[in-house]
């Protein structure tokens, strides 16, 4: 545990010795602030004159502003996430410091958890920026505190899950650039998958003319495929949660997502033992 903390401290400090920590937090704060102002102003305009925007009455605050804003924050964190995770393990390999890391009395899990915690530390700093916005909302709008709390939790879970994926990519890449690019690419795939999933036809795509058995098989395969496309993207589960509707399956989804990629990272680090 002490070793996890030692690795984490060194890693977290190095974000702020190099410009990367400031860049990440700065860019996040700037874009989040812009997004917040724009959506708040837009919501205010709608509220003043709902009929102009095809709303019967003043739209629900949670649904129209809060939830999309939180999902936006989560997606933004994931967008910047590659900058946080890309250096974690690939940089050690590139600089050769892996030789120090692996010859010091550290267990693999201490290295991985230490690095993951450091990335979560960056996430917490970003959450602090987000909390400022939520405090402003809490001050001016009549929203339950628990809804805001769950909102924060949602964004944290989204970020934590994605950072685990980034850590894994960093463990298989040899340079920061490849790790960053690959992680960003995966973010993009997950994001596109999200909007793709909404537009998938609900019915069996196999034509009527095909045999009964084949139609069933294609239908089953398509069912699994469309379920995956609809459920896998990280922002899908957040949309419900951000409205304050908390279902255990959504939380479990994020925890499992993170655990899965931490496990893969562990395997990837371990692979040095059987690879040439």
């Amino acid at each position: 545990m002490r070793n996890v903390w030692a690795v984490c401290k060194r890693e977290f400090a190095s974000y702020f010795v190099t410009p990367i920590g400031y860049v990440v937090i700065g860019v996040f704060a700037a874009i989040l602030g812009l997004g917040f102002s724009a959506s708040f102003l837009f919501y205010a305009k709608i509220s003043v004159n709902p009929s102009e925007y095809a709303y019967a009455s003043v739209p629900d605050f949670e649904e129209t502003l809060l939830s999309p804003f939180l999902v936006f924050a989560g997606l933004l964190i994931m967008f910047i996430g590659p900058l946080v995770t890309m250096r974690l393990l690939s940089e050690e390999k590139n600089r050769g410091t892996m030789e120090l890391l692996l010859t010091h009395p550290l267990r693999d899990r201490e290295i991985i958890f230490g690095k993951y915690l450091a990335a979560l530390g960056m996430l917490v700093v970003m959450m602090a920026v987000l909390t400022v916005h939520l405090l402003i909302i809490g001050y001016y709008v009549d929203v339950e505190t628990t809804v805001l709390g769950f909102g924060l939790l949602t964004v944290f879970l989204m970020g934590a899950a994605f950072l685990a994926l980034g850590l894994f990519v960093s463990s298989i890449a040899n340079t920061q650039v490849t790790a960053g690019t690959m992680t960003f690419g995966l973010w993009f795939v997950l994001y596109i998958l999200g909007s793709f999933g909404e537009n998938l036809p609900k019915t069996n795509p196999a034509p009527e003319s095909w045999g009964q058995g084949l139609r069933l098989a294609v239908g089953a395969a398509y069912g699994i495929f469309s379920k995956l496309v609809q459920q896998l993207p990280l922002d899908v589960h957040a949309r419900e949660m951000a409205k304050g509707i908390v279902a255990p399956k959504d939380i479990v989804y994020y925890v499992l997502f993170a655990a899965f990629f931490l496990f893969l990272t562990f395997r990837s680090l371990e692979s040095r033992k059987w690879r040439a």
Partner: protein, 312 residues
């Protein structure tokens, strides 16, 4: 303290080291010699747990390197060849991180860092950024991080590379002092360094150990004759071939020969006689004890020649 047992490491099809066996006693300073690419660094990486062996095992301080890697790493201070450091850190914060990872209690951490900085002549550099250090100072920081926690075994991959002559002398002196209560395995290209510092040498070539013995045994056993002749070189070579007291000989240029005698033999008279009988003039003949250089060159280039000579 260190026992290697049939260590073998393949990189794909290529065997970087093969069947490496040796042992190092407690308190010994052992020199690890070999040409580039012979497998020195690979052996050290296997011992320190950076790369696992393909076959074979090794024990350090009684712990198996594959079964108890963390226990082994607690007892080994390792200076990698390229001296990788976290470039953005300060000297003192880097060393303090290493102390923490190596399990130095938080109360003693600062003292321990000061101790190794003092030991390696880094005290005045403690607030420098590692990136800005010269090669020599990087080397010292690498050595300092190996010494943190006072591990009983030190594995140093070319510790004096990149240092100035003054520093080299200091570091050698330091390694000698460390030898009193540490077991040190160091690799180097500088042969006199081994003579000065080490009690025993291991010579490795093409992944195999080709010689290992104490300095005295290696140097004292055989005497060496340096010859200069006039006349037919091939006749001289043929004559030397027939001298029973010689283990091997090599020619340098057209008229110079260096011959190694069998253990305990005094080959001077026999060599002179053989040469004169063959009609070769002896210009000069000098006898000296074998240096590490002779042994090294003989072990890595002429193990075939040595074998042929030994069969005589």
């Amino acid at each position: 303290m260190i026992v290697a047992n049939g260590l073998t490491k393949y990189y794909g099809q290529f065997a970087a080291i093969e069947q490496v066996d040796f042992s190092v006693e407690k308190g010994e300073i052992i020199g690890f010699l070999g040409p580039n690419g012979a497998g020195k660094t690979t052996t050290m990486r296997v011992l320190t747990g950076f790369t696992p062996p393909s076959r074979g095992t090794a024990e350090i301080a009684g712990y198996d390197i594959t079964k108890d890697p963390v226990e082994v790493k607690r007892r080994v201070g390792y200076l990698p060849e390229s001296v990788p450091l976290y470039d953005e850190m300060l000297v003192c914060s880097f060393l303090s991180y290493v102390a923490e990872v190596k399990g130095v209690a938080s109360g003693q951490r600062r003292l321990e860092v000061e101790r190794v900085m003092e030991r390696c002549g880094l005290s005045h550099m403690s607030h420098r950024v590692l990136r800005n250090l010269s090669k020599g100072y990087r080397q010292r920081v690498g050595l300092a991080q190996a010494l943190i926690g006072n591990p009983p075994v030190l594995i140093l991959d070319e510790p004096t590379v990149g240092l100035d002559p003054q520093q080299i002398i200091e570091i050698r002196q330091m390694i000698k002092e460390l030898g009193a209560d540490h077991t040190v395995l160091l690799s180097t290209h500088i042969l006199p360094e081994v003579t000065m510092v080490c009690q025993r040498v291991l010579i490795i070539n093409k992944g195999r150990i080709v010689a290992q013995d104490t300095m005295q045994n290696l140097a004292g056993a055989n005497s060496v004759i340096e010859l200069e002749v006039s006349g037919e070189t091939s006749a001289a070579a043929a004559a030397l071939e027939k001298v029973g007291e010689l283990v091997s000989f090599s020619s340098e240029g057209a008229t110079r020969f260096t011959a190694v005698a069998k253990e305990g033999c005094e080959p001077g008279p026999a060599v002179t006689k053989a040469l004169i009988e063959a009609g070769v003039g002896v210009v000069s003949l000098r006898r000296r004890t074998q240096t590490l250089e002779d042994i090294f060159l003989r072990s890595i280039s002429g193990d075939e020649a040595a074998n042929a000579g030994g069969a005589k």
